[in-house]
Symmetry: C2
Subunit: 255 residues, 2 copies
């Protein structure tokens, strides 16, 4: 059975996250994975057993993706470009398959990944733009971008990010490596865009990091509070989690 890898974009505002949520085997809410499974199985002519779809990242309710990566096996050979077109014809319009490649059997969307890039859009308007309400986090307190820029390098490197993991986190270790942490100030659009790159991230880690950075920006936290938070390894110290709407899974890199 040939294995395919696909790059998937979706508008997260209409989904209860990426992962299928089932209760007693009954799918209860609309998920990205649920729609992908339906489409892939329709394309594979409803085979038994059903084709599985494995995603690289289980994005939460309301989180968007420009470059989620999935893999799946089809019961027969179809050219990759035909798979892309076929799936796009079947899928609802809030999911788009951007690229499909035929890959070796041992490729795994999650375990073969080498790094991930996310960005987070913050709208700093006094009242939120109607066209941004589900595409940005909204934060209307006065921010000093210089303080945020000074704080960002504190995240870079291999650290124990236990203070930045939400309680749903189930990974064995909370040590992660961040290789990029930037902010772009778009003054005209009254937006800040954070960019983070790393080997992997803990549950809600980026939204908690953004929350801390925004509190640093207002002066509520000292500029180098991230150093202290890494030290204390206490999730109670960083409670504000920035809203899901601003988060985008941008790109996943493979070797």
């Amino acid at each position: 059975m040939p294995r395919y890898r696909a790059v998937v974009a979706y508008d997260g505002s209409g989904f209860a996250g990426f992962q299928v949520q089932s209760k007693r085997g009954v799918e209860r809410e609309r998920t990205v994975q649920g729609e992908l499974i339906k489409a892939v199985n329709q394309m594979g002519k409803n085979p038994q057993p059903a084709i599985k779809v494995v995603g690289a990242s289980r994005t939460d309710t309301g989180v968007h993706a420009f470059g989620q990566v999935i893999h799946f096996d089809l019961p027969f050979d179809i050219p990759a470009e035909g798979v892309r077109k076929g799936l796009n014809t079947i899928l609802p319009r809030d999911i788009l398959i951007k690229e499909v490649l035929l890959v070796p059997d041992d490729f795994h969307a999650r375990f073969s990944s080498h790094s991930k890039r996310y960005f987070y859009r913050v709208s700093t308007q006094d009242y939120v733009d109607p066209f941004k309400r589900v595409y940005t986090g909204h934060f209307h307190w006065q921010l000093d971008a210089k303080r945020i820029e000074e704080a960002l390098p504190d995240l870079i490197g291999e650290h124990d990010f236990a203070s930045f993991a939400a309680s749903g986190n189930e990974t064995a270790t909370t040590v992660r490596t961040i290789t990029r942490a930037d902010v772009i100030v778009k003054a005209d659009e009254q937006e800040l865009v954070f960019i983070f790159e790393g080997n992997a991230f803990l549950y809600n880690q980026i939204r908690i990091m953004v929350g801390v950075l925004l509190e640093i920006g207002t002066g509520r936290r000292p500029v180098h509070d991230i150093v202290r938070l890494i030290e204390v390894k206490d999730r109670e110290q960083a409670r504000y989690t920035a809203p899901a709407a601003g988060l985008y899974l941008d790109e996943i890199a493979y070797n």
Copy 2:
């Protein structure tokens, strides 16, 4: 009673158009006007008789606005800036009051207007971007932008636009004056943006004009078919109406 004029932006994707649709006095669908009436009456402390909200343009289901204009009378004097903030606090997040001005009693959002500007976004991707699906019209046929640019001046001036009015049009005359008709080609974003300005427009006129221009762009219609369509005054000749999702009421000018 002081009269206020407000500039209103809304994401049309969650509304059954601007105008309240009632059946036996019961509001049946979510409309922009319905939400504005609720907010203004809440701000006016639920007066009897209820405060009316008059809009400049009855945008259709799915049509967006950056600059809809409304007027309403409040039973007491509140500074205009306080009205703006108060309404934004009450209104749902897909409607935003951008500006409020105190105006003379004879100001009328619809009848005092002098010209209107709309734009229309067309996505020309093969499959539609999930983030554009409710914010652009999608047209994936090959377009020659030069043909469209050559056709656009044919719309300028005072013409009988009967061929460009949908069947719901109820105005006494179908003569209108268009002062601007442009297209911007955004090659990077695979988008065309049409801009139209005129004294007023007929029901669905812009969406029908865009439909004709796109058919000129594909070569299905001759470049100067608009001259013929203005001549024949026959709405059966221009059947394709571009989707509501791409249309934006951008700005309304007053004397």
